[in-house]
């Protein structure tokens, strides 16, 4: 019993990962756009579960807050309010198929190699636990503290540059939306 539970705890990552892949499959293959968003939501929740299983609590909860709590809500709003039936008839959602299939195939192969290494490689016996590699971050320092030290002390400049990139994307979106109306 004890060993069974322990091995289950070690493999929670795989469990949540499989669930996430399943939900992502629902997201891609379902016909209705709202169902697709629900699949996306569950996939995001399972990814948060993956992070929690790796003892990266802060990342997991940030995933919950940012993706599940914020971004997917916006997706849902857009999908609910835009009338999709007429687009479905035009088949605009199926246009990317010829590029997508080889790309997805290549991606699957690449990830299969990584997963094979993790699951059956020399280190497969170890529990999947995130290793704190940042300078100054120790085991007993909390997760959130370690991440914030990385973001606001060690890597402050790259972090700020990233936020500028987001700003550029935001301005670009506004410009695109504006030109349509005029």
């Amino acid at each position: 019993m004890e060993q069974l539970l322990a091995s289950l705890g070690q493999n929670l990552f795989v469990l949540f990962g499989l669930l996430a892949v399943g939900a992502a499959g629902v997201m891609i293959f379902t016909k209705s756009a709202v169902h697709s968003v629900i699949g996306f939501l569950f996939s995001m929740l399972c990814v948060a579960g993956c992070f929690l299983a790796l003892q990266a609590e802060f990342l997991g909860v940030a995933q919950l807050l940012v993706y599940a709590g914020g971004i997917v809500v916006l997706f849902l709003f857009v999908v609910m309010l835009v009338e999709l039936t007429k687009y479905q008839e035009k088949g605009i959602f199926q246009t990317q198929a010829k590029f997508a299939v080889p790309l997805v195939g290549a991606g699957v192969l690449a990830f299969a190699g990584v997963f094979r290494g993790i699951l059956f490689g020399p280190n497969a016996g170890q529990a999947l636990v995130l290793k704190l590699g940042l300078e100054g971050a120790t085991e007993h320092l909390g997760n959130a503290q370690a991440v914030s030290r990385g973001l606001f002390a060690d890597f402050l400049l790259p972090f700020e540059i990233l936020s500028v990139i987001l700003l550029v994307a935001l301005i670009g979106a506004i410009v695109l939306a504006k030109s349509e109306r005029v």
């Binding site: 019993m1 004890e2 539970l5 322990a6 705890g9 209705s32 709202v34 169902h35 629900i38 939501l41 929740l45 948060a48 609590e57 802060f58 909860v61 940030a62 919950l64 807050l65 599940a68 709590g69 914020g70 997917v72 809500v73 849902l76 709003f77 609910m80 909390g142 997760n143 959130a144």
Partner: protein, 398 residues
């Protein structure tokens, strides 16, 4: 001694059962209390007077000796007249309410999206209940299993489910998933009033999440932690060396309490922010098409998130597991039992705040939609930002 993994899981399971049992008992009692409190405040006659069994409401007294039900009715009626037992008045309405919810026909509209229609109440309820995983009802062990108990003897039964390092973020993250229950339920009903109600409440919840989170940043900045237990204990008992800082800390906790509670009312869709259920405009809002147990799932979710909001407000602003609110416990030395943390203090604060929820519902009218958005974006967000800056200054000065 350290519990083994199996023991740990068994204890966690017991804790989950206890916490969910507490919530599931509290919610029906809360609806009963809601009827009675509103009836007393607004001088409504029903809920403060209905006595007797389900079968003969008030005239039970006339038949008291003839039949069994008549006798029961008479007994209840008599008990309702005794001041101590007057709490029993209105009880038949409560029982009838519960029976009605359980026995009503479960209707799925013909043009509804069936899978989503079934999924969304579950999503709302799961999100509302999962939050309790990170709420701590008592900082330490509630009791230790006696040695006589097989398998678990000698192990502590904690007042919290998990002592998560990022407990507060976990609560906020899970609570923000609850909005999907409302939006998806509204969309899946495939009817215009639920859709309008759902969009309204989703916009409301998404906008009030901002000041809610910002107002909770004040305790985060003051304590420098995201752990529920550590935050609540340090907010209650920390004494800064500087006297001015201590006073400023108490004041900002006092203001922060009201700001947080206001946002909490909006997050739970309660009066005066219950635009989602504005009867005169939207029939019943997002759950118009829901009946029976599916409806009561939404109902349970709303009331258990009321409990969550009360628990957070009492933990971070009202002193949590300690007796005195607003960090006053740090200055006043209380001796013995009164000075320590106790689950009773925490529960008492939760119940008081739940009463405030009912009190407000009985007193205040509903906001208009533009007023609601004005209050959120033009007042609460700037206020919480100012509070955040003041809290950062206090942290810097301490």
């Amino acid at each position: 001694m350290m519990p083994t993994l199996t023991q740990y899981l068994v204890i966690s399971l017991l804790q989950i059962v206890v916490v969910l049992g507490f919530v599931m008992t509290l919610v029906p009692l809360l609806t009963f209390a809601e009827r009675k409190v509103i009836a007393y405040v607004q001088v409504r006659l029903g809920a403060t007077r209905v006595a007797g069994g389900l079968w003969g409401a008030q005239q039970g007294r006339l038949h008291q000796s003839r039949t069994v039900t008549g006798g029961l009715n008479g007994l209840m009626w008599f008990l309702g007249r005794v001041p101590v037992f007057s709490i029993l008045r209105g009880l038949p309405m409560f029982i009838a309410d519960a029976l009605k919810l359980l026995t009503k026909e479960d209707i799925v509209p013909a043009s509804a999206d069936k899978a989503v229609f079934v999924l969304s109440p579950a999503l709302a309820l799961v999100a509302a209940f999962t939050v309790f995983a990170a709420i701590s009802f008592a900082p330490g062990a509630l009791f230790v299993f006696p040695k006589a108990v097989p398998f678990l003897g000698g192990l502590p039964f904690n007042g919290f489910l998990t002592d998560l390092n990022v407990g507060l973020l976990f609560i906020l993250g899970i609570a923000s998933v609850g909005v999907y229950g409302i939006v998806l339920g509204a969309w899946a009903s495939n009817s215009k009033y639920p859709l309008l109600g759902g969009l309204r409440s989703a916009a409301q919840i998404v906008s009030y999440e901002v000041p809610l989170t910002l107002s909770l940043l004040v305790p985060v900045v003051l304590t420098g932690s995201l752990n529920f237990n550590e935050m609540s204990t340090r907010m209650a008992t920390d004494v800064p060396a500087n006297g001015m800082v201590a006073i400023g800390r108490t004041l900002i906790m006092f203001v922060g309490f009201f700001v947080y509670t206001t946002c909490g009312f909006a997050e739970t869709n309660r009066t005066p922010f219950d635009l989602a259920e504005a009867e005169t405009e939207l029939v019943a809002g997002f759950h118009t098409e829901y009946t029976g147990m599916k409806f009561s799932f939404f109902f349970l979710a709303e009331y258990s998130s009321m409990i969550t909001v009360s628990a957070l407000a009492s933990a971070f602003f009202l002193g949590g597991h300690h007796l005195l609110p607003f960090g006053i416990q740090g200055f006043v030395h209380l001796s013995g039992w009164w000075g320590g943390p106790h689950i009773i203090f925490f529960l008492f604060k939760i119940f008081t705040l739940l009463f405030v929820f009912l009190w407000v519902r009985a007193t205040l009218p509903r906001y208009r939609y533009d007023q609601l958005m004005n209050v959120g974006w033009k007042f609460l967000i700037p206020y919480t930002l100012i509070m955040f800056v003041i809290a950062a200054l206090l942290r810097y000065a301490a």
